[in-house]
Amino acid sequence: MAKILLFLFSIFYLLFAIFAIPTIAATPTPTTESKDSKEVINQQITDLKTRIASHVAELNLVEKRGIIGTVTDVSDTQITIIDLKNNTRFIDMDELTKFSNPAQKEFGISDITKGDTIGALGLYNKESRRILARFVSTIDLPVIVYGVIDSLDATKFRVKVQTEDNKEMFLDVEKTTKTSSYSKDEGLLRSGFSKIKGNERVIATGQANKEEENLITATRIILLPEILTTLR
């Protein structure tokens, strides 16, 4: 009996010696001085980590962005616009915000009115989803039309286009209008008003006519004869 107990005790002692003793021996005895300096270093590391984290968050939270939209409301410190994706966006302004208009030398916040199309460049805050504008300018956006040519008016040099959303748009073809035709084999080839046929796919860009609704002064027309004309 004593032998068994002695054997078990020996095994237990041996295991304890193998696993526990080196761990205990490897741990240095802390002095009060090194303990204090260690705490100071740890505190400094924590402070540095916090500062880096907040700076990184700040950098990620704000980024440069440029937006375009139609003005729906203006105040001394804020412009509300509807952007190109029909989202309402808020533009904040401060004393550093600069305003410009290609058509006017002196241009300021008071010159911006409801319905104007503006572009704003500034700092976008991802959290508040607002942009602090540094530059605000009025812009003329081109109108882009994609559809099927419905008819031609050779006297007015006008092309009627039915768009995919079943709108009727009219393209005024001017002398300055660049017309081309695209085929997969030959690419873009120069074309003209006389070569425009009815019932043909077309992409056109131009400026909206301020007097006549749905009328566009075309700057560029690209005909796509290889694309089927059935509107989907």
């Binding site: 956006l141 081109p142 560029r220 989907r232």
Partner: protein, 142 residues
Amino acid sequence: MKKEKIILSFVAVFIGLLVAAIAFYFYESANRIADQKQNKVVSKIALSPTPKQTFFLTLDSPKDEEVFTKKIITISGKTTADAIVAIISKDYQDIVTPSQNGDFLTTISILDDQNMIDVIAIAPNGQSERLTRTVTFSTEEF
């Protein structure tokens, strides 16, 4: 008497370990069966036929509302291989054809300040997908 008690204790510990080992074995076996069943479900899903690909357009570059310090920017994205892609801005209009896997890439020049870039993918049957991006050229530091 004491000797008997010790032997009994050892036997009890041994039986306890044996029971625990058997229980562990059954637990592991049950887990393995469950995993195998899950794998079978996954392989069934993978074997089902791929749905017919519909017409699409995705743009990798540029990101919407991105600000560039260079006037030449890259337009890249993906559509179906048989489509054509029209890239249109105020100052630039061009048509590119995607590669066999549908990827397309081209460079365009942008104007000062804000630019609206329209990318229209058109399928041979006339179906189209359109994406618009607002990009800005500015070298201002703020």
